[in-house]
Amino acid sequence: MAEQYIDYDKAKEMLGNLTKNSEIEVFGPVKKGNDTFISKLNQNSELSFDYFITVNSIKEALLPRFEPILKYRINHNGVTLEDLPPVKPLVVFGGRPCDASSLPLMKKLFNWDFKDEFYLERLKKVIIITIACDEMDENCFCTSVGGSPRNETGSDVLLERVCSTGWKAKAISEKGKNFLKENSNFFNAKLTPEKGYPKIAEKDIPVVFDSKKIKTWIENNFESPLWEEFGANCLSCAACTFVCPTCHCFDITDDASMWKGVRTKNWDACTLPYFTKHASGHNPRSQSYQRYRQRISHKYSYYIDLFGQVSCTGCGRCSRVCEAGVNILDILKRIDKEATKGGK
């Protein structure tokens, strides 16, 4: 097949077209203030393609902020469970490789023994159209965790910028191939690749730590005073975890009137003070640095024990969003240094 290109206008048209179909959910980049967000699109959404990286990750599309997992009716004789609406197919446009590479990671968890079909079903039905990076900032570190600006993992279609207003499309998966085929009328832009694109190469993002060393250090240094230093600035909000492509913790709550109710899975975060607090008042992780330690350890140690992989894609979103100045890359580099120093 000949090379396929899509430009801004065609992309807008395509996404606009897809949004018309109420049977599918479409996510794409929308500008708000100075920032761009991956948002669920509707007819009025104003798309924007000139962004370096979205504030949030595409996680939101596959693991909704809240999602019903049970519906029921209450009556005098008991309770009746009701069917849930089926998961809709999705198209997610505009994530970065560090977004898409989170999906296989997350799948491992939701597929672990008990299968969370809500996530898995969406994963089956989603088309991930990733835009390869052609910019970076000081918070990016995908290469240190096995990624790259043009990493294909998790994507169905990868778009690579060829000029200021368009991309070259590449199908990665079967799903992606079909999508390109079905939407070939949008992927037929006549674009001439311009010089200077892509602006960055893999080598621009150097590997700055060794995640194996970090794991070993974490395993042996649970009580290290450094954790207090790492978490010193943390104010215990959930901004970092909510924008993170791989943070997946959730809460389950019921909302009910007298007669009917819905049980919902909601985002929750290990950094929030109440996360592990028992009804008795006991809290195993009562201090903010302990919670921050859990976050890092989970990603760089526990997850590897369970699923053999670091649960971080190096997107740097957590550092960008943290206004208290907690910077994950600084911390990982420091751990790396400590580990090297300690010889472990």
């Binding site: 909000c237 109440y274 100045g325």
Partner: protein
Amino acid sequence: MKELIAKAKELLMNKEVDLLIGYQSAGEKKAKPLLIKNPDDADKLVFNEYCLSNLVTYLNRPDIKALSKVAVVAKGCDIRAIVVLLSENQLVREKIFIIGMTCDHVMSPDGTEENIKCSYCKVRNPHLADVVIGAPIDERISKETVVRHEDIEEFNKKTKEEKWNFWKEELSQCIRCYACRQVCPLCYCERCIVDFNNPQWIDTRSNPRGNFAWNIVRALHLSGRCIDCGECERVCPANIPLMLLNRSLQEEAKDKFDWEAGFDPEAQPPLTTFRKEDDEEFIR
């Protein structure tokens, strides 16, 4: 800066304080909080117009509260938070050492615009401080001036429907990360009302209903208390203009109760008192 570092070293060296909270550089035109216990670390301290954070919020953290004395670098606007915390029995004045910094204005990180709160600032020279560092600065607004916020004026030109649609759109983007709560120096509850589930006052789902309830209760709990530091809006990852609500309630407190929070630790907070002649035109 030299003066600040010297003072910090002195405090830490003489063990006058266990911890000092100040700012450090976080790259060009950026600063971030610095919590230090060791006098040697004092060299990292900076103070410039990019020192946006209100460090007073750290004073509420349980591990910091447990210390016997803590020094905090604070601008006049930040000290207003200390005043409120003192009046609400959350701090013991003797346990904090306030390093007041004179400050003309701060800048948003892109480095061009003066932060909006600074145009209403009445405390360029810090009050209540144990030591004031920096040359005195002319106050551009006197304490008596009744501030009219331009953003509120502009917003209030909208019709009901426009306002409703505006907030519906904005608040539907709230992801309930509670960054606004956690960064707020005045949100110090041991258990936030949103974590209270019997009854469940506020839907914890980040659906529009829950988001409305959450933002309403937050604004209400800050009414008559908010000191206009703007931290909630600054940290909001969804860029929701939270200060629109807080500022309008500040105006209301000023208009109806002649009250501005954060100046007098002895004064009775307005929602815990009343005047018999309070406005009741709206009551039938």
